[in-house]
């Protein structure tokens, strides 16, 4: 579905991504793990066209979308749940969700999807008229995910959905990711919480200072000694 080939991104003089290649097959969960500053978020941002990439290819369903405009990429069915949630704090839950469907024009279907999101997150339904900024971190994360689902994505990019959340809520969030995946949405998940991410992922990549140092099936990576030592703190 999505093929990244030899992608390079520079921030001024800093070479943030050094020719990475990633495959995201349809109907799979692929995860990208790595420490701070490894280039995980940069990868997602360059897929979305939010940062300019210097060279490489991002092929989505046979079409190169590298450096296309973000709104065109969104309308092709790729949506990002941004890092740190980034809900619109002074707008209420309902408005946030409607904004998620900004590029869609089919009113009936939007209403249906809104009900679907409310079913998925009953908490959001309870807080329909509450300002997003006054909700807890977990609820805001649910809203961010719900907002992204309103775009009716085929490919969902998630940037650290567990960031700053209590362990119990992290568990909920990963449960929801699995549910969304079951509905036929392909997911590219960026995480620092390597264990949780690898447990649900079909395939994983380990990113270090802009290069991919390791890749493999989720379970294999989970049991890999190097990964355990570096990210899971369970060296044998």
């Amino acid at each position: 579905m999505l093929k990244i080939r030899d992608l390079n991104v520079h921030y001024g003089g800093i070479h943030a991504l050094r020719g990475i290649s990633i495959d995201v097959p349809e109907n799979k969960i692929v995860t990208l793990i790595g420490a701070n500053g490894a280039g995980k978020s940069t990868t997602l941002r360059s897929i979305m066209g939010l940062v300019k990439s210097s060279s490489g290819e991002v092929v989505y369903n046979g079409e190169n979308i590298l450096n296309k405009r973000t709104r065109d990429i969104v309308s092709k069915g790729i949506v990002m749940v941004p890092e740190g949630r980034r809900v619109f704090p002074n707008l209420n839950v309902e408005e946030n969700l409607i904004l998620g469907a900004y590029i869609r024009k089919d009113k009936e279907a939007i209403k249906k999807d809104m009900n679907f999101v409310y079913e998925l997150f009953p908490r959001l339904k309870e807080r329909k008229w509450q300002k997003a900024g006054t909700m807890s971190g977990g609820e805001q994360q649910m809203l961010a995910v719900g907002r992204a689902l309103m775009t009716k994505p085929k490919l969902l990019l998630m940037d650290e959905p567990s960031l700053g959340l209590a362990p119990l809520i992290v568990k909920d969030i990963f449960q929801i990711i699995k549910e969304i995946h079951k509905d036929g949405v392909t997911i590219l998940l960026v995480e620092q919480n390597a264990k949780a991410a690898l447990e649900i992922a079909d395939y994983g990549y380990v990113l270090e200072t802009g290069t991919i140092v390791l890749e493999g099936k989720g379970k294999d990576l989970l049991n890999n000694d190097d990964v355990q030592r570096a990210y899971l703190g369970e060296a044998k």
């Binding site: 969104v74 941004p82 590029i103």
Partner: protein
Amino acid sequence: MSKKTKLTLISIIACIGILFILNSTLGSYQLRILNLCGIYVILALSLNLINGFVGLFSLGHAGFMAIGAYTSALLTMPPEAKEMNFFLKPIVPWLANVQLSFPIALFMAGVLAAGAGVLIGAPVLRLKDDYLAIATLGFSEIIRVIFTNTQSITNGALGIKGLPYIGIFNKASEAIWWTWGVAIITIIFMALLINGSYGRAFKAIREDEIAAEAMGINLFKHKLMAFVIGSFFAGIGGALLGHLMGTIDPLMFRFLLTFNIVLIVVLGGIGSITGSVISAVIVTIAMEALRVLDGDMQIGSYIIKGIPGTRMVVFSALLMIVIIFYQRGIMGTNEFTWDWILKRQKKISEPLNKEKVS
């Protein structure tokens, strides 16, 4: 027709009724203030769209108003009046004999200001926050300097005197229908715009640009759109102000004028239409009421010599107090809605019903 639309129509008709009564009972001084209120409502709403709803800190309002005021003045004045005004250097021939009716000139004032909005907005809206404020402030000063120096078009520093009254019939009593008419149209237009899908996109951009962009919202298009609509109404407001005053000169459109409007918007609540309307009326009336401060004051036998501009100190202090202690202004980002009123009514009538039952 829904209940809310009915209520809106009824209240508009009520407004017209009140205006009619005020127009026939108030003296010319009070009417002038009432007109000024209407004009400041238009100006505050146009600035609030840019500053409050899209979150672009623009300080260029006086520039757009100047463009509007001069456009309308030059388009409505009869050729003889222009000849009398331009005694130092004659007016350019293509402007000398133009005379359009007031509504067309008013519309042209808005269009020209909006055109300037496109020209200045396209490069400047890539900037953010303070940089945008500085750039737009610079634009407004540039307009002022240009108008001071284009003697054969704007009559330079001498200004233009004897602008025709607001309206088509050249009567003073007509003004209120134009000022408040345009104000009501502006209020309705802004309310529809803000509650529609464009309005939501505006607010999303204000709240979080990156998230808005990730939702597929075209940032530049929406920012420019708000900026241009804002400058259109600023141009119209400026034109009405010019005709109400009867005299315009470049010095009138200094930063102080922008400051007044910013003050109204901040006091009313950044991002609230209702707040802007309420605070525009309050501030305009207060500015006149506080004129006492500009004159000589007598405390016992001691007389303090009046310093013109003292009342502005009060407003500056008020602005500081609001910024420090009450940043949300009168309304915050809340709006007056019929739902709110109906809910209130229910709450009040519910206990009464219960009492009756018991």
